[in-house]
Amino acid sequence: MPAPRPAERADPSPAGRRAIPMLEWVVGVLGALIVAALVGYLVWSAVARDETPPDVRLEVLDIQDLPEGYLVRFAAENEGSQAAAALVIEGELELPDGQTETGEATIDYLPPRSTREGALVFQNDPVSGDLTVRPKGFTRP
């Protein structure tokens, strides 16, 4: 336990009461406004929103020809109001000769009303066949 030291600086204002400077008001009120906005938004989104299950929409962004195969980049958007976890995206490529090739990707988390991107890899050219990309399943986080 350190010995009590004398006060290093004399208190500028008597009785420890001081007028609060303008700057402290500005920062404090600014903080209050931000906190009120955040809390207000959170409460609003909890009350005003219906809890619709994850609704995954997939869109193929582009197809790239790589040395190791064909890369199909996709964007997954969740239009529901709940998050999806461990979301499996499956792409099925139906080739003209009747064979099918599948590709799979897992998105760890897809938050509500948000978009995440990923890619599937195929050996055959997706342009030559019939490509369907769909969500296969997910869990609730």
Partner: protein
């Protein structure tokens, strides 16, 4: 160059008071980042930003306001006097923590296009909670330690000690609770492990109280006094810690769908870091 700088500085002449306040804010910003970084770099925290129940997150943010205000009284990022001053400090600490959290999340690419407002707001709001504690404690951590003087006197009472213990428990529990490991440990241990953890928590807590001997004159002379210390300080602080641990677990949805006994075991597991935080708060703050 020098002339130019002088020309820029001249119109915005800051008073000494304002300058000191700006320095305190900068220090608070540093505190928010240092104390917040472990959680800013925890994956579960990013996920919780959008999966956590919105009302529980809002409640946590609001509940932090009185905590921060009282903390401003005992160990603010600047010296405070009066209720208005403390409340303003609490909001200022929040503002600093929110800016710091947003900045670091942006730097790490955890905020960006394609994310909904929900996700961005949730991530920042959640990270602002530990950040605001860090911001508030910046002065006692680096800079003038307020163990002496007015703040030191203020704390030197039972309520003050318990409050600081609670803040320490909250901060440590909050740092550990988001991880999946708490749930994993709670589900794999036996009941005997849980009992041992509770005993160990109490012993460690009491060792801190005993070793630190924070009130100077309190010599633990005889057994009766030791028992009284144990009951009044250690046990009460531990119960407080368990309650805080349970509240944090509930906020993160870690207790949802669990039997009461399982929740208790989770609280005991989280109570170990919480108890150390509570005990160490007296040392660190």
């Amino acid at each position: 160059m020098i002339q130019q700088r002088r020309a820029v500085a001249a119109p915005a002449r800051l008073s000494d008071e304002d300058r000191e306040y700006l320095i305190a804010l900068a220090r608070a910003f540093g505190g928010a980042i240092i104390f917040g970084l472990p959680l800013l770099m925890t994956m579960e925290m990013w996920t919780l930003g959008f999966t956590m129940d919105r009302l529980r997150l809002a409640l946590f943010m609001v509940a932090m306001l009185p905590v921060l205000s009282v903390l401003a009284y005992f160990a603010g990022f600047e010296e405070n006097s009066g209720v208005k001053d403390c409340v303003l400090s609490a909001f200022a600490a929040y503002a600093v923590a929110i800016v710091a959290a947003a900045m670091i999340l942006l730097l790490f690419g955890l905020l960006g296009p394609g994310m909904s407002v929900d996700e961005v707001v949730g991530k920042i709001a959640l990270q602002a909670v530990p950040g605001s504690i860090g911001a508030m404690l910046a002065r006692s951590q680096f800079g003038q330690a307020p163990t002496e003087g007015e703040e030191g006197e203020r704390r030197d009472c039972y309520v003050g000690e318990m409050f600081l213990a609670g803040v320490g428990a909250l901060f440590m529990a909050f740092n550990v609770a988001p991880t999946e490991e708490v749930v994993l440990i709670a589900q794999t241990i036996t009941g005997w492990h849980a009992v041992a953890i509770a005993v160990a928590s109490l012993v460690l807590m009491h060792a801190f109280v005993y070793a630190v001997d924070f009130r100077g004159e309190t010599e633990l002379e005889d057994l009766r006094e030791a028992a009284s210390e144990f009951l009044r300080l250690t046990v009460v602080a531990y119960v407080l810690t368990l309650l805080i641990a349970a509240y944090v677990l509930w906020s993160f949805g870690r207790s949802d769908g669990l039997a009461p006994l399982e929740v208790l075991i989770e609280a005991v597991v989280l109570g170990l870091p919480g108890a150390l935080g509570a005990a160490a708060a007296r040392l660190i703050l």
